[in-house]
Symmetry: C2
Amino acid sequence: MATLKEVAKAAGVSMPIVSAYLRGSTSIRMSADTRRRVATAIEELGYTPNLATRSLRTARTNVLAVVVPELDNPALTDVLRGIYDGATRHGYVIMLGDAVQLTSGSQTLQHLLSQSRVDGVIVTRSSALDEGVLSGVAGRGLPVVFLDNESTDGHHWLALDDADGIRVATEHLVELGHEQIDFFGGRDISPRSSMTKLRYAGYIAALQAHKLAPRPPVICGQEPEQGYEAFSTMVAPRVVQRRRDAPTALVVNNATTAMGVLAAAYDAGVAIPGDVSVIGYHGTAVTAMARPRMSTVRMPMYELGSRGVAMLDKIIGGEFMPSGILEDIPPKAIARDTTASP
Amino acid sequence: MATLKEVAKAAGVSMPIVSAYLRGSTSIRMSADTRRRVATAIEELGYTPNLATRSLRTARTNVLAVVVPELDNPALTDVLRGIYDGATRHGYVIMLGDAVQLTSGSQTLQHLLSQSRVDGVIVTRSSALDEGVLSGVAGRGLPVVFLDNESTDGHHWLALDDADGIRVATEHLVELGHEQIDFFGGRDISPRSSMTKLRYAGYIAALQAHKLAPRPPVICGQEPEQGYEAFSTMVAPRVVQRRRDAPTALVVNNATTAMGVLAAAYDAGVAIPGDVSVIGYHGTAVTAMARPRMSTVRMPMYELGSRGVAMLDKIIGGEFMPSGILEDIPPKAIARDTTASP
DNA sequence: CTGAAAGCGCTTACAG
DNA sequence: CTGAAAGCGCTTACAG
């Protein structure tokens, strides 16, 4: 490996000149000829700067750690896209870690968060992380942004307006003429979680605005299997028996859960949307491709990611950034095949 | 931030002792008391080693770059899981980059592959990368493993036995009694690609083993939309008109494509598996949850990832590792709802 | 075990 | 612009 010193020698200039050239520094002016000689030397020697060394000097790595609950969560796709684009725009590279392997005291976490390795951390869905990991992330003095509104206690965070998203979903069903609408969700992932409460609040708000009575939530985790189970045991029997208290429509917390609900309906012989309408929350490419195509509420996932990076970049730079909810891009109901009038 | 020097001072020992303690070096023996004092000092000062500096000395970063065609490709989920587990086992941390942003000359690529930043690179599905990127990766002198058998020209690679996988898929349909089986796939992603040819070869092998005549491939890209389009235009009309040359079963190159095929069949009123059986290739969590649940062939994706890391680790360590196809875990057909006897 | 020292490859002032 | 030098925080010989 060629070093900067060798490049300087080959180009017949001093090291600081090469360094300035590489960093595109404007404080040092050099002649076009110098510039060309340096460029040629770099080219010929195949020189690449040793970034580890640069980090040692600048105490900056231009690496951001991103912690996600699980790598293959389709709900995260657009958030990650936003994060990567934001990172590119701000000159960072991403180190992505799965929370599954980030149990407290894990080697991976140490490596990922080691002070000298990354400039900052983005944590998505903190509720999926255990306390040890969270305090490990937060207590390290590293700038951290949570894409989540669960960890308001002194940390920086940015969140979607979940209450409003669910309100819009519920609104969509009310407008179709539904009056018996169930809310699916609510099994808290951690004791800290207030997310589901917020979401349920949006459901209540929509119903009350139309003088309809809210119903108790159908408690259910977010995995497809849990949606499947909840629908099969708590909804399907009532629908099949045409009981009066059976819902005619469902607002499901989560598109992943809703996939399980649709599968359960199929298996139980419940027609969607003939017998029951279903609307999911921030759908994915798959929910739109599977049949029947799921109606969902579109949330600004991409923006959550890209603005999260922008926020983190500011914090790293020592600027103040208020935490808050992403409100300027309103949720939008996307009607597809799983919702209809009762 | 505390430094090693400060720790040494606080513990009343020399720097080399602290360094040895941190690295768990066995060449230097220290008393239990010394060990305890060092541990206490580290704890009290909240010391974390500066890995950038360590890299500078050891010329190792313990970071691996992973390049994927797109982050949200569900087919990659298990490969990534394998890569992360393998990385943890071998003491590496992962830097994950999306090929979409890795066009030639991109900053991200530079950063990701910069000699001093990572010890090695894993590239999945090289066919999705442009030539400039590929030569950038390969020409840098960095150890690289391609999880792919397309780039045999002097590079290290590890691949699935695609021909055998498709053979097993085809075999499954033959055993159900099908005789008119179409192969879906074949639009090469890059001129280099021989993958699809290999897959088609597996289809031919299975048919010939049963004295059945292979049919020309239905040429089709791998996105769901392309599967949708191909089925709608080239298969559905013949099936609906009950033409003699209509296939009774389909082997689809790819579970992603097959999702599109199922959607197209639904929309065209073609019953699956009543009118046509469909089997996909290495399915994902979603293909098993959507209804009807897709029959697929299970491939050792996880192992591809974890062994890829093991291979790369050996290469980084200067050992020789033969490239090859992962043959010891045979493909297995998983019959679900989309395949039946004709 | 200790302690003083060299050096990894840069960046950054600093005197010319 | 140049050139000699300090120093980032470690690891690694090396003499005691």
